[in-house]
């Protein structure tokens, strides 16, 4: 069995040698270059555009304006399609937009022989706008009289809303002796910042258009390119090579529809859209900014009686994934801490900002933050032990969810917390840091649970198709529509296929590239679905292939198929394991057999109608230099229950990456806006504070491997979950250290300054006394060091 082993990534050699080909590496250097003209207003209409000077620039092939594209709105979200019009993604976007809805919105396209000519031409396009007021906050955008962003879709800018009602909130809160705790929590707009900027190129073969692109979802992109270009979907071919990270940004049709249109506009010539880092920030997708108001009613013993949530999500200018993200965030609150009386309303609201889409953990980083920050706010107000609160109120073993039918099969949260406590000395440190701290430098430790699920069933369809082709030497080609985006999917698929078929993993050749002309249908990388969902189709197809192999073996070994097995690439007798024939010999003989030559292959589709919980916990220990307004993470730990691990080493690596992203969410990252113009101020890696190797410490990771009963490989979601809880564990650690609750992310030095100033920690009397005490305490140490220097 190769499943469960830390084999080396199947793509690692190609990636360390520079041999791995990404989209830009594959594009012929003679490609025409297309560049978009971004709007210089956040909201309004393009009244007219003069492209005559731009067209005169040497090297310019064609200029396309927003007045020349099909007036057929299309959806972009990387969701599985549905034939039910009621549940289809909202189509609110054109290839180029005359109604400008954010600063940087794409209003024209220049196609030129080289990048410099294209840029020079962009500078020469004269645009006349009719400017409208813009709105940058969902709460403002919902107010009557706010400028309407999509008047044809929504009369009040609310893209969609939904509610959840469990029990009876109003009745429940009448119970005597309850304590009410409420708070607002604010989450920033952040971006995926994958290292490879978005890039694609398109050309035509016969009457069809081919787009090679850095995407997570080739089959979905094929559909959207067809919809946007008014083409039959079969007239579109999408090829996905290696991609330099996606994290959900590339779970959307981004530039592909426009690139296909550009190529078709110049006779099918090769056209590349190779975006800049700035465009990657401004014109793609972001994680939704949210405002959440959470109210909880508790008995003195800390048991939850009733809860109410109001959630406002900033969709930005176009629908993309829209309310799905917000609805998932809303739903999670009553999963992590099931409460008998729960009332929630959520709104996804258009604003004149970057478009909210999918980003690693799809609403959960936001929801985990407000849920678990609120947990500690409750405990602070009621003087409860947060660990006890979590043990008492978190989802218990045996819990069944009405909607997804998910079951919590184990006492997972307690197991996870126990492990994390052991790894971080949480309880001792919690006690130690609870002692009064008076100096300028203080410490704290904090915790957070998270809740996740696996894939999108039952909200959407979950299918995966798999093809296996046996080669003459007993090895196989493995093909799936599910994509490698850096997470290690190809390696996990290879391991599962080897186990399902009964061959060594070295004999599995995974075809990493998806080409919608030849790759079986699959939906791609999102919702941490692939290992779980593809596991079913790999298992089913592997079983099918093995049956066919054994049926063919029957001709040579003359034993009934039911007495045969395929183990580690050998045909064996089940009863005693005796090796009868190698798969290599069998494959060669069967393929070239004079009497009955046969190419052994298998292909099947599996529709998954189950889902699986995936849980975890974070603990963070911090040191705060109060006068310097700086946080240092001393220790950080994640423990996950992702079921049985397919590859423990790559699983751990996934967790590192998610934790790093969440540390950034907690302390560093946010897109900032100029209120006046709506322009993004920090659309580059200097001002958008992506963590460097110096910005966080080593990370501790552990797993509890409770087998997932619904999965053929006992596994469940892991790709996104690590990005849920570290940020709020850090926030809770800062709360313990300083007593100051920071309810807006990221907790930057500026916010620490404001929070500490408001709490009186920087007041001169207090500060002077604290400093005098500190100076008295440290003087000897200073002099000692000083003497050493001298």
């Amino acid at each position: 069995m190769s499943v469960g082993k830390s084999i080396k990534r199947v793509d690692a050699f190609d990636k360390v040698t520079g041999r791995a080909q990404y989209t830009a590496d594959l594009c012929d250097e003679r490609a025409l270059i297309a560049k978009v003209l971004p709007s210089t207003i956040a909201h309004g209409r393009v009244k007219s555009m003069d492209t005559s000077e731009a067209e005169k620039v040497k090297g310019v092939v064609k200029v396309i304006t927003c007045f020349e594209v099909p007036q057929v709105p299309f959806p972009t979200a990387g969701h599985p399609w549905t034939t039910d019009p009621e549940h289809q993604d909202i189509a609110d976007r054109l290839l180029l937009n005359e109604h400008v809805r954010y600063y940087g919105d794409e209003i024209a396209l220049v196609i030129a022989e080289d990048e410099i000519s294209a840029k020079q031409a962009l500078d020469k396009i004269m645009v006349e706008y009719e400017e409208y007021p813009h709105v940058l906050d969902p709460l403002e955008s919902m107010k009557p009289g706010a400028p309407l962003i999509h008047e044809e879709i929504s009369p009040n800018n609310v893209l969609a809303s939904s509610s959840s009602r469990v029990g009876n909130y109003e009745e429940a809160i009448k119970e005597e002796g309850l304590t009410k705790v409420e708070g607002w929590y604010h989450l920033p707009t952040v971006q995926h910042a994958h290292l490879e900027p978005n890039v694609c190129y398109a050309y035509m073969e016969k009457e069809r258009v081919v787009v090679v692109t850095s995407t997570q979802i080739p089959h979905i992109v094929r559909r959207v390119v067809g919809q946007a270009n008014c083409l039959p979907w079969g007239d579109v071919r999408i090829v996905k090579p290696y991609i330099g990270g996606g994290f959900g940004n590339k779970q959307d049709a981004l530039w592909e529809p426009l690139c296909a249109f550009a190529s078709r506009s110049v006779g099918g010539r090769l056209v590349m859209i190779d975006t800049t880092r700035e465009e990657t920030f401004v014109n793609n997708r972001v994680r939704h900014s949210m405002h959440a108001h959470l109210t909880s009613w508790l008995r003195p013993d800390g048991s939850l009686v009733a809860r109410k949530l109001k959630l406002y999500s900033d969709q930005g200018a176009y629908a993309s994934h829209g309310h799905s993200v917000t609805a998932k965030a809303m739903g999670s609150v009553n999963q992590i801490y099931p409460c008998d009386n729960f009332e929630a309303d959520s709104y996804t609201v258009y604003t004149n900002k970057q478009v909210g889409g999918a980003m690693r953990a799809y609403g959960m980083p936001q929801a985990t933050f407000f849920t678990e920050a609120h947990t500690e706010d409750i405990c602070q107000k009621m003087n409860l032990d947060p660990l006890e609160f979590r043990r008492k109120n978190s989802m218990p073993e045996g819990y069944v969810d009405d909607f997804s039918k998910n079951v919590n099969y184990y006492d997972t949260y307690n197991q996870l917390m126990d492990k994390a406590i052991e790894m971080t000395d949480y309880e001792e440190k919690r006690k130690l840091y609870a002692q009064p701290q008076t100096g300028p430098v203080r410490r704290g430790i904090g915790m957070s649970l998270f809740w996740y699920n696996t894939g999108v069933w039952p909200i959407s369809i979950e299918t995966s198709a798999c093809r296996m082709v046996l080669n003459q030497d007993g090895s196989i080609q493995l093909q799936l529509g599910e994509t490698e985006i850096g997470q290690g999917a190809d390696t996990a698929f290879s391991q599962m296929a080897a186990s399902a078929v009964g061959i060594p993993v070295e004999d599995v050749n995974i075809v990493s590239t998806q080409d919608t002309d030849v790759t079986p249908f699959g939906l791609g990388a999102y919702a941490s679905r692939q290992t779980y969902v593809a596991g079913f189709s790999i298992n089913q197809t592997g079983t099918l292939l093995k049956e066919r192999i054994l049926q063919n073996a029957h001709r040579y070994v003359r034993m009934p198929v039911e007495l045969l097995d395929l183990v580690n690439g050998k045909i064996v007798r089940k009863s005693d394991g005796k090796e009868l024939m190698s798969l290599c010999d069998l494959a060669l003989n069967v393929l070239y057999c004079h009497e009955q030559g046969n190419h052994i292959t298998a292909e099947s589709t599996y529709q998954v109608k189950s889902n699986a919980y995936s849980f975890g916990v974070s603990v963070a220990e911090v040191e705060i230099d109060i006068p310097l307004c700086k946080v240092e993470i001393l220790d950080i730990c994640n423990v996950h229950d992702a079921g049985n691990l397919i590859n423990p080493q790559t699983a751990e690596a996934q967790v590192h990456g998610g934790m790093s992203m969440s540390i950034g969410y907690g302390l560093y990252e946010q897109l900032l806006y100029d209120e006046e113009t709506g322009r993004v101020l920090n659309d580059n890696l200097l001002d958008y504070k992506l963590s460097t190797s110096m910005d966080h410490p080593d990370m501790k990771v552990a797993f509890i491997e409770n087998t997932e009963p619904t999965s053929p490989f006992g596994t469940r979601a892991l790709g996104e979950p690590p990005a849920c809880s570290p940020a709020v564990a850090i926030r809770n650690a800062i709360l313990q250290a300083t007593g100051v609750p920071f309810n807006t992310l990221p907790i930057t030095p500026q916010r620490l300054y404001e929070g500490f100033a408001e709490a009186g920690l920087l007041e001169s009397d207090f500060e002077t006394n604290s400093r005098r005490e500190h100076y008295d305490r440290t003087r000897d140490e200073l002099n000692h060091k000083s003497q050493e220097t001298a």
Binding site: D114, E115, I116, K119, Q120, D123, P627, L628, C629, Y668, L672, D674, L681, N682, L685, L686, D687, K689, S691, T692, S693, M694, D695, T748, P749, Q750, Y753, E754, A757, L762, T768, R771, R772, Y775, R779, L782, N783, K785, S786, Q787, T789, A790
Partner: protein, 295 residues
């Protein structure tokens, strides 16, 4: 990736660079490119003419002159300054400042000359050079000029360098560093690859018994449109004993000199708070490095 450059001239010698600048007064000097190329790409300098002085190896390196002056060639990279023996022996805090710029790759290409010619307040080496009373040497067709750094900065992004002149060296006179110990603190949002929210450079000279502040110099980046000295604070503590009251006075007095502004990167109030805190910390650290005795 190509840059929208109208014409590129590569100077083979300093004099050739100067004549090229005389011939093409609209041209910009490119030394390492970490500022200029970014401006070309961003469009601010798109279509410009450049005179490259990258090849002028005579302008690289650090030397100790016979009178004790430390001469730093303007094209010396930040990495070379950070690991230079002369710098580390006499003015290690300039090495600290150079070592805090961006990341390793940027420090390999970025030059100290560029860091002072761009006239940017956040430039990491600029505050330390200001705190060292450095002298900038420039050459034009009429020969060399020396400009004390306090007169170098005219306003944000404008320095006392004519379009036809090249900065050749940065000089640190012996009296500026002999007997002084210092340090540079870069306050930024990340630990690397960042610009300073506030930079603070302090150096101090103590009395022989290490108990009194004989002289102190403090300069800030981002405390105003150009790097600036906090002379009121300096004057207030000269001759004072090394104790907490002196440190408090020093940090309080810098408020009279600094004038940071609110931007989306940080508020004036926060920067002011930081600058007072850093004054105290950097002076404490400088005294410690001087072998000072805290009372």
């Amino acid at each position: 990736m190509k840059y929208d450059i109208k014409k590129l001239y590569e100077a083979g010698s300093l004099d050739e660079a100067i004549s090229l600048l005389e011939e093409h007064p609209e041209a910009k000097i490119i030394a390492g490119g970490s500022d200029i190329l970014i401006s070309v790409r961003a469009g601010e300098l798109a279509g410009c003419t450049l005179v490259s002085i990258y090849g002028l190896d005579d302008l690289r390196g650090v030397t100790l002159e016979t009178d004790g002056t430390i001469r730093i060639g303007s094209l010396t990279s930040f990495s070379n300054i950070a690991r230079n023996e002369i710098i580390n022996k006499y003015i290690p805090y300039l090495g600290e400042a150079a070592g805090s710029v961006g990341g390793p790759q940027v420090r390999n290409i970025g030059t100290i000359g560029g860091n002072t010619c761009n006239g940017v307040t956040s430039a990491d080496t600029a505050s330390t050079l200001l705190a060292l009373d450095a002298i900038l040497e420039v050459k034009g067709k009429d020969g060399y000029r020396s400009i004390p750094i306090k007169d170098w900065y005219i306003k944000s992004k404008l320095v006392d360098l004519k379009p036809t002149e090249v900065q050749t060296s940065i000089l640190i006179p012996k009296e500026s560093y002999e007997g002084y110990f210092g340090n540079y603190y870069k306050y930024s949002m990340r630990h690397a690859m960042d610009i300073a929210t506030c930079g603070c450079s302090v150096n101090v000279k103590l009395s022989a018994d290490k108990k009194t502040v004989e002289d102190v110099r403090i300069a800030y980046g981002v405390a105003g449109p150009v790097p600036l000295r906090a002379t009121t604070a300096e004057a207030a503590v000269k001759g004072r004993a090394v104790d907490l009251d002196m440190l408090e006075l020093f940090s309080e007095k810098v408020k009279d000199d600094i004038n940071p502004r609110t931007s989306w990167r940080a508020s004036k109030e926060f920067r002011t708070h930081l600058m007072t805190e850093l004054a105290r910390r950097c002076l404490t650290e400088s005294i410690r490095r001087s072998g000072g005795i805290f009372q």
